[in-house]
């Protein structure tokens, strides 16, 4: 058996979700471009340099930021380092297994990393202690505590919230602590394609039956900074453009409502 029983989708659940989305409904009564209520609890882990707990519906993730000293990469002697890692704990879902990171965990970490890196959210050039010798390394660690779909958005939001409140522990090298230098605030919005409808912020049931998935990260100027297409289904040009427009709109809303920016 290649798939566990929990991973096999009830065939009629897929038919039902496709049917009601064609009628203009979603399983939890939301609109197609409506996200679930996001609750961000910053400084959840007091000993970390920055942290945030995010609840997106019943999805719950914990993101911690650690800032430590390290040696820069030889090709970027004038730049700090950003490392992102995601941990899908078996307690979060019956389909998560312990052991080395799964493909999904790696994709999740990379998509979150891309949103932050490509938006130039962190001013990495200001994290140099001594050129080519010592820089600050920013570790983002994401722990999935409860899985009810759309980990990408929950983790991205958590990582951004944690970074916005993170401190560089410069007191360790005899200077004063200062907030992590921030340029931009990227927000990632994920869409799932059910039948021929793109729905924003899919929950677990929607994610299970989706044929394609699209994540769009935008910054506060409305620029698209990163994208990721997932699953085997296809997306039309029109769907892509409307997803980008929706994610700019939703990104503005979340930035203001949830992050207060």
């Amino acid at each position: 058996m290649s798939k566990s029983a929990d991973e096999i989708v009830y065939g009629l659940r897929r038919e039902y979700l496709e049917k009601i989305s064609a009628e203009g409904n979603r399983i939890d009564g939301r609109k197609f471009d409506e996200t679930r209520q996001a609750v961000v609890n910053i400084n959840f882990v007091p000993r970390a340099e920055g942290s945030a707990e995010v609840r997106l519906g019943d999805t719950r993730v914990l993101v911690g930021v650690k800032v430590e000293q390290g040696v820069p990469f030889p090709d970027t002697p004038n730049s700090g380092i950003l490392t992102t890692n995601a941990e899908m704990l078996p307690m979060a879902s019956p389909t998560f297994e312990s052991g080395p990171p799964s493909e999904d965990a790696i994709e999740l970490a990379r998509v979150v990393d891309r949103g932050i890196r490509e938006s130039k959210m962190i001013a990495l050039d200001k994290l140099v202690i001594k050129e080519a010798e010592k820089v600050w390394v920013v570790f983002i660690d994401m722990h999935i505590l409860d899985y009810d779909g759309n980990l990408i958005d929950a983790c991205s939001l958590g990582a951004v919230a944690a970074l916005l409140n993170a401190k560089v522990p410069a007191s360790k090298i005899g200077a004063e602590d200062y907030p992590l230098p921030i340029n931009h605030v990227p927000i990632t919005i994920t869409f799932a394609k059910i039948g021929s409808i793109m729905v924003a912020d899919p929950n677990l049931e929607e994610e299970e039956v989706a044929s394609a998935r699209l994540s769009v990260a935008t910054n506060e100027n409305g620029d698209v900074v990163a994208m990721q297409k997932g699953l085997s289904g296809s997306i039309t040009q029109q769907e892509l453009f409307s997803a980008v427009d929706t994610s700019i709109k939703l990104g503005k809303d979340i930035r203001k409502r949830v992050l207060g920016r």
Partner: protein, 220 residues
């Protein structure tokens, strides 16, 4: 009901008050104790402890909703949300043709309303489709509830589930294993889903059917 509906903890001593020892109770040094966290209920002079939460343990003649997870040469392997998979042999179905590819009758992911036919000594669960009302389920939606709360959703003599069916017009098929099949308009299905969640949460309280009736009337 002689014994009060009270929540007990594992290892808590229970006074049976003349009732016989039923499920979820063990006997040690002349005293009775609870195995699980649950509610005491009496049924036919037996005291049982109904767990507040837990996995589904198949019992003979239970009607369950299963999902095909794999196909063997002459039987289907079904997920019935129990500790072990269930098996549905072609001989225990109304379909005859043995030469037929099983994949053409039921495919992986199909949902079937079944009964538990037999549980062998080695805990193999054999399922059957040969009884009134048992069938492959088509259309509709599947939601999950706690298997321990199914009896509460059914209610006394089906009172609760009938109330829900009448008030919303949604077709409801309950599996003892906590799988519920619903068919009807999207907003009605959503309403039933909300009510099932409410019953799950409030299952240990009394007068639930009347409260559900009230909610259903208010939402109309």
């Amino acid at each position: 009901m002689d014994i009060e509906r009270k929540i007990v903890l594992p290892g808590e001593e229970i006074s049976l008050e003349g009732m016989k020892q039923g499920n979820g109770i063990y006997h040690e040094n002349g005293k009775y104790y609870s195995y699980t966290m649950g509610v005491i209920q009496t049924y036919n002079s037996y005291a049982n402890i109904i767990p507040l939460a837990g996995k589904y343990y198949p019992v003979r003649n239970d009607r369950v909703i299963g999902k095909v997870i794999d196909i063997a040469p002459s039987f289907w392997i079904m997920d019935i949300r129990g500790p072990y998979p269930g098996f549905l042999h072609i001989n225990d179905t109304p379909w005859k043709n043995l030469d037929q590819d099983l994949n053409k009758i039921l495919r992986v992911g199909d949902t079937v309303f079944l009964k538990v036919n037999e549980i062998t000594e080695s805990r193999q669960t054999w399922l059957s489709l040969k009884d009134a009302g048992l069938r492959k389920l088509e259309g509709g939606h599947i939601i999950m509830v706690q298997p321990t709360k199914v009896s509460r959703i059914i209610g006394k003599g089906g009172s609760m589930v009938n109330t829900i069916k009448e008030a919303t017009g949604v077709k409801v098929q309950l599996g003892q294993n906590g799988v519920v099949w619903l068919d009807g308009p999207a907003e009605k299905v959503m309403e039933v889903r909300k009510i099932l969640r409410f019953i799950e949460k409030e299952a240990h309280t009394s007068g639930l059917t009347d409260r559900v009736k009230k909610i259903l009337e208010e939402s109309r």
